[in-house]
Amino acid sequence: MTLKEIANVLNAKVVVDGFFDKKAVVTAVASDLMSDVLTLDEEPDILITGLTNLQSIRTAEFADIPIVVVARGKKLTPEFISLAKETELCLLTTDFSVFKSSGVLYKNGVKEIY
């Protein structure tokens, strides 16, 4: 799937259209536990999370995850958005829950990394 298709199936808003140089989105993880995301040896294309403090952007930055999807329609602070811009991440928001976002992406061929 392309980033655009991801946004479509999640009914998501692209808040920051950052840097994503791969042809297609292939893998994702879903987590609110950033410490856990930081243990991954592989780099998924997407982090789906309900965590809206700066740590989720920082974690994606350091774990080399180019796309962050914030689920549950959570409001984002200007600081959150500007940090995503600064780090050149793609930032999407969806009203879908973490569970539903994961399910919809999985159904559309996005795979787990483990």
Binding site: S35, D36, L38, Q55
Partner: protein, 146 residues
């Protein structure tokens, strides 16, 4: 051998600034054309260390030195210290507050993950005084101990 040096300061409880040092180090290592997997090991470890100061200590200082051989990081804080370092290194051991958990940390995975991602890690601590963590990641095959 002397290399490029960086210094950063951290304040306990200041979660908004946790990760700033790691972010700048990441940019620098990228400019130096260090392999991305190596950069990831460094910044993941440094970020967990930054979060530990913010989450568990009062204030801290980070010193980073980059040489051709390695990245050498010292994170020294003033704080409560760690009573039992061996226990703190165990995966899952945590004394984190609910606030820390709400930030996506506090699962007792930080120190073990720093250990996993570095070529050398040393933790020294004095209860009531503070904690010093040293991390080294080699940029060459054999890390020369100094």
């Amino acid at each position: 051998m002397s290399g490029i040096k960086f210094e950063y300061k951290l304040e306990g409880g200041d979660f908004a600034n946790a990760g700033k040092a790691s972010s700048q180090i990441k940019k620098t290592l990228k400019q130096l054309n260090i392999a991305s997997k190596t950069i990831k090991r460094v910044v993941v470890s440094l970020y967990e260390a930054e979060v530990n100061v913010v989450a568990h200590a009062y204030r801290g200082k980070i010193d980073v030195e980059i040489t051709v051989e390695m990245i050498d990081i010292v994170i020294a804080d003033e704080g409560p210290g760690i009573e039992n370092i061996e226990q703190a290194m165990q995966p899952g051991f945590s004394t984190a507050t609910a606030k820390v958990v709400s930030m996506g940390f506090g699962a007792g995975m930080g120190l073990p993950n720093m250990k996993k991602n570095t070529d050398f890690m040393n933790v020294e601590s004095e209860v009531g005084v503070g904690t010093t963590v040293q991390l080294k990641v080699a940029l060459v095959d054999k890390l020369v101990e100094n």
